[in-house]
Symmetry: C2
Subunit: 382 residues, 2 copies
């Protein structure tokens, strides 16, 4: 298949591009380095440097013999985005190309405005690129479990049949997100569903939970091919923050009560999920929604897992609750379905102690580069 990977410089984009190229697909990797630029502007540089996309593609070619074509440009720009669809007429598109930081989107007016306009326009251009130049193409869009928020009922996979006053209909599962970034993904979903049902596009929306991990078959071939690793409050996940705090010898900072429960998955499983979605495309006019995570646990449980792995390495890890910078429920019901990808064949890699120890060992190598200023929350919701 000819596949466009949009947002290919990202934590998930680059490993995805390599994985699909290794599997024999013709891969075009697209990015405008938005995340790198925000990271520079907000003092949120990753723990170790990653070569740029063209350099990485060159290294990958040298070690694997496989090609990844690179296109640098802004997908929110209609001429560039639609031009790509016209030029490549892809069979499938993997759309990761959004400003992905919740705290950044909550920092102030300019950041909120950029996040809204960037994310909506990229999605809009992807829809129209397909409509105008590749109507049969399968659009694989990365949504987020965060779109659902933390409702008091079970979370289903994207859709919900509702019975009301003796009548029934099926609707998008209610969405109520906790940041402007997550809200832009809700808006994406509304927009995509409108165009999918009106014009018969094929679309899969992968509602992903937080992803962790640094290892993939291709990343392990050369250190310079590894994904980026952010531990700062802007781009870092709670997993990465805890791991770096364990190595830096500072307490793991749990936000508030720590009962916030989410569904997590290993980077290796993201690659499996994308591959499974691509192999099983959505039908014409179908917005197929799959919840993409393999296990759910609370922030407290996550901290305890990291503590246990760290202590195995002799790190003497402490855990400390701090005032929650976010507006979110800290103690809530959470039970989310995630059988769709398992039915397609997903074989999960769970967050074992060995997996966490392997990540900690990698971080220890870069211990001197840790900047503690980047770890504590600099953006507050309130």
């Amino acid at each position: 298949m000819r596949m466009l990977i949009l947002g290919a410089d990202g934590y998930l984009g680059w490993p995805t591009a390599m994985d699909l190229a290794a599997k024999g697909h013709e891969v075009i990797a697209v990015d405008n380095y938005l995340r790198r630029n925000i990271a520079k502007d907000t003092d949120s540089l990753p723990l170790f440097e990653n070569p740029d996309l063209k350099e990485r593609a060159g290294i990958f070619k040298a070690v694997s013999g496989k090609d990844i074509k690179v296109e640098i440009g802004d997908l929110a720009d209609a001429d560039f985005a639609l031009g790509l669809f016209e030029k490549y007429k892809p069979d499938a598109v993997v759309h990761y190309a959004e400003q992905p930081s919740a705290p950044y989107s909550m920092r102030g007016f300019d950041e909120a405005r950029m996040t809204l306009n960037n994310n909506l326009n990229v999605t809009f251009n992807v829809i129209w690129g397909a409509l105008q130049h590749a109507p049969e193409c399968h659009i694989i869009k990365l949504g987020t479990m965060g779109e659902y928020g933390t409702p008091n009922i079970d979370i289903e996979e994207g859709w919900l049949e509702i019975e009301h006053k003796g009548r029934k209909d099926k609707f998008l599962y209610p969405r109520q997100a906790g940041s402007l970034y997550h809200t832009t993904k809700v808006l994406d979903t509304d927009l995509m569903w409108f165009y999918v049902r009106t014009y018969g596009l094929r679309m899969t929306d992968l509602m992903q939970g937080p992803v962790y991990g640094l290892q993939t078959a291709e990343a392990d071939m050369d250190e310079r091919l590894g994904p980026n690793f952010h531990y700062d409050d802007i781009f870092g996940t709670a997993v990465n923050r805890f791991l770096v705090q364990a190595v830096a010898g500072v307490p793991l900072t749990v936000y508030g009560k720590g009962g916030q429960t989410r569904g997590y998955l290993n980077l290796k499983d993201t690659l499996q999920c994308i591959d499974l979605a691509a192999k099983n495309p959505a039908a014409k006019g179908e917005l197929r929604i799959l919840n993409q995570f393999t296990e759910q646990f609370s922030v407290n449980e996550l901290a305890e897992r990291v503590q246990k792995a760290g202590n195995r390495m002799g790190l003497n890890v402490q855990i400390k609750s701090i005032d929650n910078p976010r507006k979110e429920m800290e103690d809530h019901y959470y039970n989310a379905a995630h059988s769709g990808l398992m039915e397609l064949g997903l074989k999960p890699h769970y967050m074992t102690e060995d997996v966490l120890v392997a990540m900690l060992e990698r971080i220890v190598e870069h211990k001197d580069a840790i900047s503690k200023d980047r770890i504590m929350p600099r953006v507050r919701w309130k």
Copy 2:
């Protein structure tokens, strides 16, 4: 109260500005003439000319002695929009300022893109104007009944309690709109609800059905103060199209089977609803949603009402079904709640034969100006 009326040059905006000024409020009327410009560009001029906002404000001052301040500018422009909030620190805002045509939004890429960006950015700027300069201000936003689409269950007023697998929660009522324009209003709702619940804004979302009528207490004082009257396929409603067709001696064009059912209301009732909402502001952190219409009927019933009124005037009105240019259900369940505004005190003006005859008489005065080319659908969804 000091009130900003955004989109004050529109069919509803101008009568609202006059009504609120007549009631003694300090009114600032804001517009950038977007509708007028689109009307020129698409050969969709109204049946008779309306003076521009400044001229109308002058005429209104002369006949009523009341002031309406006018600000011309683009509310999608952050500097202009936030500047208005800083300058006036309003007690209430009435937000009509969107590209309001469904067919225009479905015309092609450029029109869709403009509609998405214009409507979302105006709403975003209104939210941030309030957040930064008038956090206690009551934002009265015009939504549309079209956000709900035509679900197979009863439509409630904005919210729905859902019971699922033995647990309960309350969510935004599911939304699934029939055009990109209507979808931008769904996106508005998601965006507003995020900011309202996160920062404690006060907001009322009025989910309005199609409005008809040319008469209001102030419009009747001078012909030049009347609202605009579009009968074209871009800005005209089915009501206006049928009335003009009756006068022009061509059959009333029902799209498809004509079972499309909607909730309608009289322009006089829109004014009442805005006034009632303003007198009863939403609480802090509340997104109050009210369904704003007074009676529901199908397109076939609407055509028959116009036919009956026209025949009373000796017009010999015919009705003809034509191929539906839209993608919509033509025969569906429809039962929408609308008790909230009645409970606040709304006294409906129904679509009686006298009301339709009064509109027909006004159109007869301008019969020679009718351009039949503007009536038939020029935009197709498919």
